[in-house]
Symmetry: C2
Subunit: 141 residues, 2 copies
């Protein structure tokens, strides 16, 4: 147990907060993340293709899907991250805000193709998470 | 817009549900995931090192951290996933259940070193998510 404790510490890194511009940059580059909402069974977190415009994130969901049903107007969170299991390092960015169904016309200008779902099937539920807070952290190797 | 629509469909894959044994296997192999809980501002989703024993997942948190404060006894969800951005494919597993603070003696036998946090610092808040549902999906390339 003592040896394990010492080995563990050897590989542990420091966590540092990311500045806002870095958070926005990482969020903008991401094409897949996870959205957290509540349904009657409590918190739910599901991967989804999202595209960011500043602190706002756009999603296209399938009508009747678990996520579309849970994502009634209200609070939600969207997280993107990247990890290196070998170096035990990584980063994450979290956006929190209000979710609202929109129509394609409400997308940012010239963004009619946003976002591009990786999964097949009709995805006619357009959703915007209007971010009111963004934060991020990096775990150094 | 038509051309974009067609190209989009060309690369889209089917989503298939994972069987329970496959969900448990992927969960057991994972060393980092994301936990979703609620704080007064709504849903929150934060990366964390978790280790699974069947449907139960164990965490070691820092006292006073955002996650430790939000993780009062109650409902939570833990998600692990893996994505290939190039092939636009991936998988995810979701465990939902009740969170409870435990003492290290409540860990599964011979698991006193569980889980191993990648981040430095004292982590004296031991938490178990007692999973009561597990599900998973794979997005085929």
């Amino acid at each position: 147990m003592r040896l394990i404790d010492e080995a563990e510490k050897l590989f542990q890194g420091e966590i540092v907060d990311l500045e806002r511009p870095e958070c926005l940059r990482l969020l903008e580059l991401s094409r897949v993340g996870r959205i957290a909402v509540n349904d009657p069974d409590g918190p739910l977190v599901v991967p989804v293709n999202g595209r960011a415009d500043g602190e706002d994130v756009y999603f296209r969901l399938r009508e009747g899907s678990q996520l579309a049903l849970a994502l009634a107007d209200g609070r939600a969170a969207y997280e993107v991250d990247g990890f290196d299991e070998f170096r035990q390092a990584g980063w994450s960015v979290l956006v929190r805000g209000e979710v609202r169904r929109i129509s394609p016309e409400d997308l940012p200008e010239h963004r009619s193709e946003w976002p591009r779902p990786w999964a097949a099937g009709e995805r006619d539920v357009w959703v915007r998470l209007a971010g009111d807070s963004i934060s991020g952290r990096r775990l150094l190797p």
